[in-house]
């Protein structure tokens, strides 16, 4: 017998599980299909930062701020400990040139309503111990926070299941059937599910799912590598980034063709400490396809950069490293919403290095779109068709 579902969500990362939860909360019957396990993709190989300060002032920051609001009551709402903590965060500034860029960044962020300030070296040192004396200062926002992304996925999924969602692990989507420009069913390796609505939350694998309906999207995997230390007493104040992180994130062109390994690997500091005391030291941004391995070059380059800014890290032991893939898009914004030309096919992918921060708001937006056809913010800039990728669909349908 064929199964049926009101909505099928593809992907058990932070985005898919959030969507499954928000839809279930609003009474929709959801089947979430994940080919491996919860948090087995990017959401299980990343940092823990809900950082607002790193977001481009504009719709990007607005979304992150709205998401941060939802986070405040999320543990309680899910009845699950997601290790959320409003820690505050800072971005370290190494020289006058970076200071100029950050001043401008902060001004624009403030205009949008973010609480953020520029600190001199002395003020910054009070918040974060062990800073290198050459730093000129830092920006600081009390609104930055932390969460455990794996607990987040599990918390969303369990809460959704309690509300009636079916969480189908170890199940792969292998095809999507359409007729007359409308979704009819998804085919999995364990049978077919009839449905009129499919949400593509497959992260870096979203292009594979899009290909099933004849659509192409410019989502590309962008590798990051992170070093994990032994658990130590509280050393990192919250989320600590460096201004170079901002450059690596938004200006990949500046990094191309450089001889300096730090620049070529897109290294930018991100430091945070888990509740268990392990420090996560990141990271880099590289285009190397679907390659999840770590490299010795990145490990040493990241650590050199990190200890240049926070020499106190030298005394701590590294115990492990890992790599994850960020779902990159050319404009750094996710693809959210219905796809024109293929009714019932909804995109929710391409969150680059911000999927954790944006996960609750993505769940809310997609559930708004499915239930009401609109949401609280104009999501035209996030439209899946903005890269001109729906022409092929029109031709086939």
């Amino acid at each position: 017998m064929k199964k049926t579902a009101e909505i099928v969500v593809i992907g058990g990362g932070v985005i898919g599980t959030s969507i499954a939860y928000f839809l279930s909360k609003r009474g929709k019957k959801v089947v979430l299909v994940e080919r491996e396990d919860l948090a087995s993709g990017s959401s299980g190989a990343c940092d823990i930062d809900i950082i607002l300060q790193s977001k481009n002032p504009g719709i990007h920051l607005k979304l992150a701020m709205a998401s941060a609001e939802l986070y405040k009551s999320l543990s309680q709402e899910l009845d699950f400990d997601i290790e959320y903590e409003n820690t505050g965060g800072m971005i370290l500034i190494e020289d006058e040139e970076q200071l100029k860029v950050m001043k401008e960044f902060v001004k624009k962020q403030k205009a949008i309503g973010l609480q953020v300030d520029l600190l001199d070296f002395k003020e910054a040192s009070k918040l974060q111990k062990g800073l290198a004396p050459h730093l000129v200062g830092a920006t600081y926002s009390p609104q930055d926070a932390h969460v455990n992304p794996m607990s987040l996925c599990i918390g969303f999924a369990q809460a959704a299941a309690k509300l009636g969602a079916e969480i189908s692990l170890d199940t792969a989507i292998v095809d999507i059937k359409t007729a007359k420009g409308r979704v009819k069913s998804v085919v999995t390796n364990r049978g077919e599910i009839e449905t009129e609505t499919v949400v593509n939350a497959a992260g870096v694998f979203a292009p594979e799912i899009c290909a099933m309906v004849g659509m192409s999207v410019p989502i590309k995997p962008r590798r990051g590598q992170i070093i994990v230390t032994e658990p130590v007493p509280k050393l990192v104040m919250g989320d600590v980034l460096c201004a170079k992180y901002i450059v690596a994130k938004y200006n990949p062109k500046l990094l191309e063709g450089s001889d300096d390994p730090e620049t070529r690997l897109g290294v930018g500091l991100s430091l945070s400490q888990t509740r268990n005391g392990n420090i996560l030291i990141g990271g880099c941004r590289e285009f190397v396809g679907y390659n999840w391995s770590t490299t010795y070059e990145a490990l040493t380059t990241i650590l050199k950069h990190a200890t240049r800014l926070v020499p106190a890290l030298k005394e701590i032991h590294a115990i492990r490293s890992f790599a994850g893939l960020r779902p990159y898009t050319p404009d750094g914004l996710p693809l959210l919403g219905p796809v024109e030309g293929i009714e019932g096919f909804i995109m929710a992918a391409g969150h680059e290095g911000d999927g954790i921060a944006l996960s609750p708001i993505t769940g809310k937006i997609i559930s708004d779109i499915i239930l009401e056809g609109k949401t609280f913010i104009d999501i035209a800039p996030l439209s899946p068709g903005r890269f001109g990728n729906t022409e092929k669909i029109k031709a086939v349908s």
């Binding site: 396990d37 369990q158 770590t294 650590l303 701590i316 890992f322």
Partner: protein, 87 residues
């Protein structure tokens, strides 16, 4: 009843691992994500075998993939890594 610790580094009990399996974990990494078992200082050297045994009740042991082991293979002082490079 006395608690039975399967992962001593992270103090994870048999009961917690059983719960993770009931929640759908079928791999060592799935257990790790749900409980932290295997993430301790010994990086699973002590608990991995016990957890594999428990998993083999729900999954064919031949299919249980070892967790990814990533450098450094032993705890090493960060100072040694960064300074070693300059030599």
């Amino acid at each position: 009843m006395k608690e039975e610790y399967i992962c001593r580094c992270e103090e994870i009990t048999r009961e917690e691992i059983e719960k993770a399996i009931a929640d759908g974990a079928t791999t060592l990494s799935g257990i790790k994500k749900r409980t932290r078992a295997g993430m301790g200082l010994c990086q699973g050297r002590t608990c991995r075998r016990l957890i594999t045994q428990m998993l083999s009740k729900v999954k064919d042991p031949a299919e249980i993939t070892p967790p990814t082991s990533r450098p450094p293979v032993r705890a090493i002082k960060i100072g040694e890594i960064v300074e070693g490079e300059d030599d």
